[in-house]
Symmetry: C2
Subunit: 431 residues, 2 copies
Amino acid sequence: MTETLRVGLAGLGVVGVGVIDILQKNREEIKQRCGKYLDITVIAARDSGKDRGVDLTAYRWASSVDEFYEEDDVDIVVEMIGGSDGFAYDVVAEGLKRGKHVVTSNKALMAERGYELAERADEQNVALFFEGAVAGGIPVIKTLREGLAANNISSVYGILNGTCNYILTEMQETGRDFDDVLMEAQNLGYAEADPHFDVDGIDAAHKTVLLGAIAFGIRPDMSHIMIRGIRQITALDFLYASELGYVIKLLGRTRMEEDGTIIQMVEPCLVPEGNTIAVVNGVLNAVSINGDYIGNTLSVGPGAGKEATASAVVADLVDIARGSRTPAFGRPAKQLKTIVEGSRDEIAYKFYLRLLVADKPGVFADIATIMRDHDVSMEAIIQRNDDTSGPVPIVMTTHHVQQYKMKHAIQLVADKLELEAEPVLFRIEDV
Amino acid sequence: MTETLRVGLAGLGVVGVGVIDILQKNREEIKQRCGKYLDITVIAARDSGKDRGVDLTAYRWASSVDEFYEEDDVDIVVEMIGGSDGFAYDVVAEGLKRGKHVVTSNKALMAERGYELAERADEQNVALFFEGAVAGGIPVIKTLREGLAANNISSVYGILNGTCNYILTEMQETGRDFDDVLMEAQNLGYAEADPHFDVDGIDAAHKTVLLGAIAFGIRPDMSHIMIRGIRQITALDFLYASELGYVIKLLGRTRMEEDGTIIQMVEPCLVPEGNTIAVVNGVLNAVSINGDYIGNTLSVGPGAGKEATASAVVADLVDIARGSRTPAFGRPAKQLKTIVEGSRDEIAYKFYLRLLVADKPGVFADIATIMRDHDVSMEAIIQRNDDTSGPVPIVMTTHHVQQYKMKHAIQLVADKLELEAEPVLFRIEDV
């Protein structure tokens, strides 16, 4: 076998630069660990002239997929462009077709087209690894695929988007509202100019779907996940949550129910303050895995950023150099099943509900009566009568109640009373 | 290649039974994940007649190492006996000699003779894996060896002994003293009848040495670790620590200093209450890894027990079935260096000091003067004058000060004043 593996890089954002940095600086160290040199040969990126702070002079420059492969000097393709089509998809698909190993940090690509790509990788008996796509600094893909391979996994959940966690932490600590904190996060570089993928939960959903695919042996499929972002959360919600002993986190969760169906969701949840995941703040990520033999485990670490993701990408390269050919989703793609989605409405959760009602006598009794008559058992209620005569916020938490009953009760309340705003309903994650 | 890997088990305690349970129950699932059946062929354990709750009738029974290998029906040896010599060592050494892969959950064996065994495994090009030896439910060996392979690690530390953590948590929560809680832990099965290995820190030291070997590419060597157990901690220390904003944890730590020397230790430390590791309670383990690209990560999970350790052992088996041949300590044994131990005395730490002095006028001023004159800057001091005329406890925490200065100052205090008990000194872990 050759002593050197030749690496082609597609995409040269911060992660790409980080990968080059590690491969250059730790070249000998890496050779010690895996017995081979990992040497970059070709780079595909938009602007070849831009100064990125690393020395690129030794590498060939490609501006098309054809050029990327034309010299036949690539053993492993590293794709860090992002997006599920265009150059990102093409360079990976063509690489697999040519029998190259692929490492990618692209969650959209893997969540949306990972099944097809995994099939191609299996056919060619090459590796398709994507540790950098989920929770950068926490090797959760490896942990699920290998470290916990003996377990039947029952659920995986966690804080999977650092931008949202940064915004929520800031809201919690400073009492400011979403728009205000988002703008600050954008100025600080923690949020994109177009924050849609992050704050609307898409990014976390990509990651949740990838974790579910490995955990349950199912094909990644973005059409079977409920997604809700964090725009709806107000400073008031943090105040009430805190008073009730909770913090608010955007959680991604994939879980197998007792009947074997799977429910996947990304949504803001109330988490008890005493829970370890509640103190995971700022841009950190956290992943909790629950298995039949392992019980519960939790890992916390940097979720994204140049260094952490680059470190994950290089770890995949080292694994390939060491000969690892574990299938992308932990078992051959042909064995991955189609998800059978459970009915979330039937599941009993605890809820947090915030209503804004016109301040008239008896509204509180009306709400309490409707809840009682429809099997919603309230755990705590906060209603404050200020001097103002404007609308009154009423906040409550419930005991476990099936979601369809909860929604029905809220509908009845809305029918009967004058609601001054859309009811805000969050699940309480009490695991 | 064969579709079945034949597994020989040496040792049939709770972990061994757990491994059999997983291999029997998840046989098809495991085949899906690694493409091969993992079938037990032979078992070596003391009492073949005892009912262990699993069906052993299909397996051959061996009462010596010769018998274990005589039928040539073993591809992988799983050693779960414990101890660094006798049958445990012999069955592993002989297995490697015969070119068998080895999986072991035996930390003493790997910490004390792991270098020699890793050399043998390398010569035969077979796997020698030991995920089950450290923090059972947390795949920390795999994380260090593979997941963070791109990083230069600066330190690894954590709560590595569930028995001690259980005892310390109980002391903290109930205010009881060590002996009392130890007895209860023994009755509950959380501590052995002879608790020496656990409460005196040996078990945590074995694990720390193994983590250090992988993190820094050094030979595991039990002669270069400072070990201190938890017997010296009193209920009073928990009270004072709490008043000062700390909890007490037994931490194992291996760290590379700036000059490249390595300092390894197991000792009770004060940890700030706000630190994530401070809320890891009961029999849980936690491991924090710090690397140049990864920053800080923390993993929490069950540290021992039948299921968690068995899960780790089977994960190693699955890795071997998938073809993984990563060297035992992450790089070829011949490349592992001899540790160059740093001088702990030169390092500046923060300290917690508890003194018991005869209650005479001016003792406090005497202590404060000695500390000041010898560069020990005090951060907080607790001295209470009860009505009683007995000895008075004086507790203080310091700012960073080199350990030799701290010890020197304590010696001077002991020379000048009448100490009624040995001074108690704990390091404050403020990372």
